[in-house]
Amino acid sequence: MRNAIALPLLGLAVILQSAIVSQFSLLSGYADLLLVILAAWALQEGVTTAFHWAFLASIMVSFASHLPWFIYLLGYCGVVFLALALQRRVWQAPLLAMFSVTFLGTLFMHLLSFAYLRLSGDNLPFSDSMGSITLPSILLNLLLAIPIFGMMRDLAHWVFPSMEER
């Protein structure tokens, strides 16, 4: 039942992303709050609902974005998949896993968006997209990674209390 926190949390994240985070740009890139939240959530121990969160987030964010929902769904599910794969391999260094997922997830999401827009006929030079959007966005996402990871860890403890606490 505590998993229902996903609805208000992701809703708030979409609002913050659209109203505030998108205003703080570095060159032409800006952070993706939802991506970082999903990555941090999927990396928490005991979390079994990361794909559900990714589905919800992609539906919510597609209301505000011109990009179609399936691009977000593919991108966010890819981030969650990456996080779950890395969690098993670098479970002793969660922050390292967080940075890796943020880096690779942002890259994956941007390549997906780039591919879709190019196929739609938009004029997007690859070098400009990488230099002005993707790399600054990765940097901003990495800056967000540590505080978001801490917040999501606390949230995971609340949603999935350990057996001793129960």
Partner: protein
């Protein structure tokens, strides 16, 4: 008789002695002695006074600190309240200035009818240049309506829901606007880019374009009404081998500071897509 004489003599002598002492004192002959005497008194009085004040302060201090703390808290609360008021008033002044400019703009263009809207968000994807406004179909907004500010053209409405709409900015990479260069008296196409820069394409090689030339919407294609200010030419790229000239453009609108926009509601955009010939195999 003898007693009376002796008493009078004694009194006179006392008066004379006292008077003499006073005359000597006023004359400054006792200054060193009086200084020592008064100095001792002053020192003693100072010692007692400072000790008394210290004890008084020690006894009265707790009450004063409590009073001062309360007062300080009150004043801090008042300062915070006043700062909030100042911020609110500054925002109100900014909004009033923007609205005043928009009213002036609508007065100078009375042929159009407008609906004002606030910009409440941006597209979450950094690849796209879209903004979200707080007016939708309930406010009479429809897809394709042009969006402007007092500075010039902003874009067009891309999607509408009941109380909000998404506006494609002219800086979006997928945006293209037919424009007219006023000084060169020629038409061109304005295109956005992924970095938000604007460029002009399809300028005839015969046209004489110079930096600073004003760019207006031409109205061709039916997407925008004519004669809306778009920006100014900054650089021209003219190569003899090319079919057309190209130019970079400085937009008249500062897209990073969009707060309030006007939607032209009496303009019906024309969808020319069915008229564009498609290649058949």
């Amino acid at each position: 008789m003898k007693d009376l004489l002796s008493r009078t003599l004694q009194t006179s002598i006392i008066f004379l002695v006292v008077g003499g002492i006073l005359v000597l004192a006023f004359g400054g002959f006792f200054s060193s002695a009086s200084n020592q005497l008064t100095g001792g008194f002053v020192s003693a009085q100072t010692w007692f006074a400072t000790r008394y004040q210290a004890i008084q302060q020690f006894l009265a201090a707790p009450r004063d600190i409590a009073t001062l703390r309360t007062r300080n808290t009150e004043l801090e609360a008042q300062v915070a309240q006043l700062q909030a008021q100042v911020i609110n008033l500054q925002q109100a002044v900014n909004q009033t200035q923007i609205l005043s400019a928009l009213v002036n703009f609508s007065r100078t263009n009375p042929e159009n009818s407008y609906v004002a809207a606030s910009v409440i968000g941006r597209d979450p994807s950094p690849f796209l240049h879209y903004v979200i406004i707080n007016q939708g179909s309930n406010g009479g907004i429809q897809r394709g309506m042009p969006v402007v500010t007092s500075d010039g053209l902003v874009g067009r409405v891309d999607a509408v829901i009941a109380d909000a709409a998404r506006v494609q900015l002219i800086t979006d990479p997928a945006s293209s606007v037919n424009v007219h260069l006023k000084n060169a008296n020629t038409d061109a196409m304005l295109q956005g880019s992924v970095t938000g820069d604007l460029s002009l394409d399809l300028i005839s090689q015969d046209a004489t374009v110079e930096p600073g030339d004003l760019i207006l919407t031409s109205g061709l294609g039916g997407g925008f009404p004519p004669d809306l200010i778009v920006g100014q030419v900054v650089n021209i790229h003219k190569l003899p081998a090319e079919l057309f000239q190209q130019a970079t453009v400085q937009p008249s609108v500062d897209f990073s500071r969009l707060q309030i926009v006007l939607i032209i509601t009496n303009f019906q955009s024309v969808d020319v897509t069915p008229l564009i010939p498609t290649t058949t195999p």
